[in-house]
């Protein structure tokens, strides 16, 4: 069972309070009515499904109710960081670098 830091509650809580909500940073096209079938497929269906760093959404559904984003490793299931909805995607190289530093410090 995961332990997830909610950026709104500013606390780590059990996964039981959360609901996964799929990939983060996939914006619904502003002009969605006008996009092509291929663009719609891209938006709605196609996913990176990375082995490693993933940016994903969670909802603290049985907590503060907020959707927020997380950067997590899909192999170790370790969370690198979580951040509020609307905040920019953290720099990947920064995340991985700081992880390496942490590893080195150990």
């Amino acid at each position: 069972m995961l332990l997830i830091y909610c950026p709104y509650c500013e606390e780590e809580r059990s996964e039981l309070e959360f609901r996964g909500a799929g990939d983060a940073h996939i914006a619904r096209p502003e002009n969605i009515a006008d996009i092509t079938d291929e663009e719609f497929e891209e938006y709605f269906f196609l996913r990176q499904n990375p082995k490693g760093l993933i940016f994903e959404r969670w909802r603290h559904i049985h907590g503060c109710g907020r959707f927020f984003n997380a950067a997590r490793d899909t192999v170790s299931d370790r969370f690198y960081t979580t951040y509020k909805a609307g905040e920019p995607k953290p720099d990947v190289s920064d995340i991985l670098q700081s992880e390496q530093n942490k590893g080195a410090a150990k």
Binding site: E15, R47, K51, E56, V75
Partner: protein
């Protein structure tokens, strides 16, 4: 290949089983093959076998990054059934079931297909409507599936609690008598042995690290940890790792990889004659020939390649099992594990060509891959050999996600297993 039979076993018994050779050869990879299949699970090994057997293409390699049958083939709860709703699904799962019925003979390997019946419990009117829709569709399609009253269900599976006072009382069940189970390892090993016998190279500990294409974009081979291997045709049959491989060819696919959990109990004397599933309370259970209760749980809610999951997922399933079978509370869980399933949005598989010429895809089987093994493998071999899908798999192509012709078994049945 040495033929397996009771006589061969008896002969070997008298000389300490010294005469058995390897199930499959372990050759060094060639520089080039006519076709490469990435993924040494039941689907991949089976496809190689059918390429050799039915299409005469024997210069084939199956590349497996670990040990064959070590992915979802060896991690599932071995349920076999074909009572799906949509024609696309019925086509492939029934094709598969028919192959299961003769698979041990075909492979000369006892895969222990055991048609002990798969019973799906109905707990409310919505279930009943949905099951009857399946039963009627199956019947008109020539697939067995029948409605049972609660009493008939209890007669078929005596431990079942059909009390009306239960939290979710059982108001009937759908039974597919030809459904059942098979021995998962035997499927991988049986296909491997039969394919190897026909000249297919099974190469374990061989991880694909790149997919090479020529200037026209056509596949020419793969890079692996054991060097470059050429092939004009490459089939990907790698379940949870499909997205990773497809990205080596710069193709994104509509898949998510999630942990699917299962568990077994300690071995107990047989009491449970069939497979029981309940979508409403999220449980499926059978008892293996060793006496272990084999119980399938759900997927975790996040993507992961870790083959582990949370305690709460199996708890949720055991809640339901103990409610349906209150005497099982004193049974003990012996082992739990996870697999990585690749799930599509419509919970139906993808089999077909890809935007990259020469690259073929078999994926998205989600939680239902084991039962499809022979059928999927057979049709995937056809796809690789002919370059276009077999009639029975024509609806499973990638383009449905663009056009919207989804095969939404989940929407139709609430949950697809």
């Amino acid at each position: 290949m040495r033929k397996y039979s009771v006589f061969a076993v008896a002969r070997e018994a008298l000389r300490g089983h010294k005469g058995w050779g390897p199930h499959w050869a372990s050759p060094e990879p060639r520089k080039e093959y006519d076709a490469i299949i990435i993924g040494g699970g039941g689907h991949g090994l089976g496809a190689a076998y059918y390429l050799a057997k039915e299409h005469g293409i024997t210069n084939v390699a199956v590349l497996e990054k670990g040990w064959i049958g070590g992915g979802n083939t060896g991690r599932n709860t071995t349920i076999i059934r074909s009572n799906y709703l949509y024609e696309e699904s019925m086509d492939i799962y029934e094709h598969s079931l028919k192959l299961w019925e003769n698979l041990s003979h075909d492979l000369n390997y006892n895969v222990m297909y055991s048609p002990r019946g798969v019973m799906m419990l109905s707990h409310n009117i919505h279930d009943q409507q949905s099951f009857k829709r399946h039963i009627n569709a199956n019947r008109l399609y020539g697939i067995d599936n029948e409605w049972l009253t609660p009493e008939q269900a209890k007669a078929y599976c005596p431990p079942l609690d059909i009390a009306k006072t239960a939290r979710y009382p059982i108001n009937g069940a759908a039974l597919q008598r030809r459904g059942g189970t098979a021995r998962h390892d035997a499927v991988a090993w049986g296909y491997a042995r039969a394919a190897s016998d026909r000249g297919v190279h099974i190469i374990q500990n061989c991880e694909v690290t790149g997919i090479r294409r020529d200037e026209t974009g056509r596949v020419v081979g793969v890079d692996t940890n054991r060097g470059y291997i050429g092939a004009k045709k490459v089939g990907i049959s790698a379940a949870g790792h499909t997205s990773v491989l497809m990205q080596m060819a710069d193709v994104r696919v509509p898949l998510q990889s999630q942990p699917l959990q299962a568990l077994v109990s300690e071995p107990l004397k047989p009491i449970f004659p069939c497979v029981v599933m309940s979508n409403s309370v999220h449980a499926y259970i059978s008892q293996s020939d060793k006496g272990e209760f084999v119980i399938g749980a759900g997927t975790d809610q996040y993507n992961s390649y870790s083959q582990t999951g949370g305690l709460q997922i199996i708890t949720h399933t055991l809640d339901a099992i103990c409610e349906l079978f209150p005497m099982f509370r004193r049974v003990k869980m012996m082992r739990q594990w996870g697999g990585i399933v690749d799930v599509t949005q419509d919970r139906s598989p993808i089999q077909g060509v890809t935007p990259v010429p020469g690259l073929f895809l078999n994926a998205g089987w989600g939680t239902g891959g084991f039962k499809a093994t022979p059928g999927s493998a057979h049709l995937f071999a056809h796809l690789i050999a002919k370059g276009e899908p077999h009639r029975l798999a024509a609806g499973l192509t990638l383009e449905r996600f663009r056009t919207g012709r989804l095969i939404d078994e989940a929407a139709a049945a609430a949950v697809a297993h």
